[in-house]
Subunit: 384 residues, 2 copies
């Protein structure tokens, strides 16, 4: 290429690794910044830099020669992104989008301002204000910033729960009566072209509050699928900037669709797109970064994605039961290259592609029964 | 893994690179040996060793700690593979298979011995023996070893062409009246399980004698497709060893199927399987190496693969016209990471997936008109 473009990626976890796998095909230079020198991207990036992606100076130094700056985690220095954008670089997501999304309060207010349906809420300065909103109970209390993967979220069922609540600026959000949780990926190009993936159904593990598995397409009527895609598209269009938007939705028991939250990046709910869609979420993100035409999001058949979450404590990771899983036709392994497993840590996933939900049931069942990531036998185990 | 297995790959070109892209997902250690420190695999292998894969001692040293030894080119030391197999390592292809295939004379004799239909031929010691086989003319003269990508092959139309013929041990092969060239990939697991891909149609560039593009499925009747798959399976079963077999076939004008030649490795004719098949040729090869169950070879829709071959001389590579190609839905780029382009060098390929051959026609036409790999403007150009 006349000048071979450089993408600077903030964060070197599994999302970055899957992005790299695809970017390799296009022979693109991808530089990665992550504090962990053993992170999943460390060995694969064209250039790996150990460092803190939430430190403005570190990010500015890291990205000074890049053409495009992307993220694989929200907890990065938005100030650095502002500066890099001002230098004329392509920054995806736009710093304004990230600033809105990182603060759960601003994010909720954004939906309200854009008349995007979301569970009713109030922004409160500290927990003493919970008592001012009895009509929102039962509710969830969510820290406006710093929450991740279910942490910094707690249920407030009655006013008496306030005593145990954490303090500081929060969103108090009425608890939706959830029938299903859905996610819809939308991709927006620099030129404003948009593609939308079919809704996926997210099935949570109630113990870990992580996605246990997902299915595509979601088991919903066509009417709801069309409405979910339209709603996710409204979210992306409201943000009005290029990038990937993973829009999580609640389908309530009364059949209403509410936006839960949006991630402005590749997302766990899109991992099945690697095998099951013509163009994967990682391929689309690359196209968005590079200003290329977007890919075809069509889902081929049925797909499930089952997270492989560490069990049995901490230690060097060992995968068990793979052979049993791969005996089920259409199954694939993704291991993220994390050396140490911990109970609850996302270590990889299994994708199954099939021609029906019944076939997926089998793949999901076999995976959940046989496939485990545990500390290697004989290693020191710190049981959690 | 209790012991994380190591695959040692002889050759670090594009086939190795695409193998690595997939192996990354499974977090497998892949070591690569290649004489070129800038080869497509050099930056991606878990460990890269510069060295000659045709040198027995070099290969033995390189692979001493490996569990599995594979190849991405035939021109490797078979003696080293014999030794590594004797040490109890998994060697795919088996040295006996590679020895037969590397010598075009032994390969042809193998088909004859196994009653596998192939163009009639004679093995000759030197060109003076051409005159003894007038019934084989018009024919192709093929050097028994050392030939690659059309080199060391020449047409012998009449006895008078003998004067210009190269000398040494050759196959003199009657020229088939070819209607179509097909290729069928067969994968055989260590446990003897076998899967067969749908036949692809190879369209050659007559100037370069390289595959210009291929289409899957081939535009043949179902009867011929079934017969082609059965014939390719017979070839793999005759070799009776685990691995990938890319079986090239002639469909003659009289409707006969003849085996042209077999490659015991990943093959250009299987690149479309990355996007268009549930499990790609590279995924299958990994499964064969690891002793895992084989993947699903089902072809989804229609696919074309168009080679991007260097044009306009030698120099740092520049890709032109990608944006035009990516505007066609279902198109994907693969660039092999070769820094220098040369006229006729395989630099990458475009895969198109579509729902009909008519749609593929469009993608092929757009690619061939717009997409070129040329020396970068302003660089020194050595016109060939």
């Amino acid at each position: 290429m006349a000048h071979k473009p450089v993408i600077a990626l903030l964060g070197g976890g599994q999302l970055g690794r899957m992005f790299l796998e695809n970017a390799l095909r296009y022979d693109i230079n991808v530089h990665v910044l992550d504090p962990d020198p053993h992170c999943p991207c460390a060995q694969l990036a064209t250039r790996f830099v150990p460092g803190d992606f939430d430190d403005t100076d570190t990010v500015l130094r890291f990205a000074q020669d890049a053409d495009v700056i992307g993220i694989e985690i929200e907890h990065v220095s938005v100030e650095a992104l502002d500066d890099l954008k001002a230098q004329g670089k392509t920054v995806i997501p736009d710093p304004s989008v990230l600033r809105t999304i990182k603060d759960k309060g601003l994010q909720k207010q954004f939906y309200r301002d854009h008349r995007i349906p979301t569970a009713d809420f109030a922004l409160i300065h500290d927990k003493s204000q919970i008592a001012e909103h009895p009509a929102l109970l039962p509710a969830f209390l969510k820290a406006r910033s710093g929450g991740y993967d279910g942490k910094a979220v707690m249920p407030i069922n009655t006013a008496s729960d306030t005593a145990m609540a954490f303090d500081g600026p929060c969103v108090l959000e009425r608890r939706a009566e959830i029938q299903l949780e859905l996610a819809v990926l939308v991709v927006r190009s620099a030129k404003g072209a948009v593609v939308t993936y079919d809704p996926v159904e997210m099935v949570f593990d109630p113990r870990l509050n992580l996605v246990d598995h997902l299915r595509a397409p979601a088991r919903i009527t066509n009417t709801i699928a069309v409405a979910a895609k339209a709603l996710a598209l409204r979210v992306a269009e409201a943000f009005a900037m290029p990038g990937l938007y993973a829009v999580e939705l609640f389908l309530t028991k009364s059949g209403e669709l509410l936006v839960n939250e949006t991630a402005p990046r590749a997302h766990n709910s899109g991992h099945h797109t690697i095998e099951a869609c013509t163009s994967s979420q990682f391929d689309q993100l690359l196209r968005a970064y590079m200003g290329w035409p977007l890919g075809d999001p069509a889902l081929r058949g049925h797909a499930a994605m089952i997270n492989l979450v560490g069990e049995g404590g901490t230690g060097p990771a060992e995968l068990k039961g793979l052979d049993d899983v791969l005996h089920v036709p259409g199954t694939f392994l993704h291991l993220y290259g994390k050396h140490e497993t911990r109970s609850g840590r996302k270590m990889g996933h299994i994708t199954a592609v099939a021609s029906s939900h019944a076939e997926l049931d089998q793949a999901i069942a076999v995976t959940k029964v046989h496939c485990k990531v545990v500390p290697r036998t004989g290693s020191t185990i710190n049981q959690h």
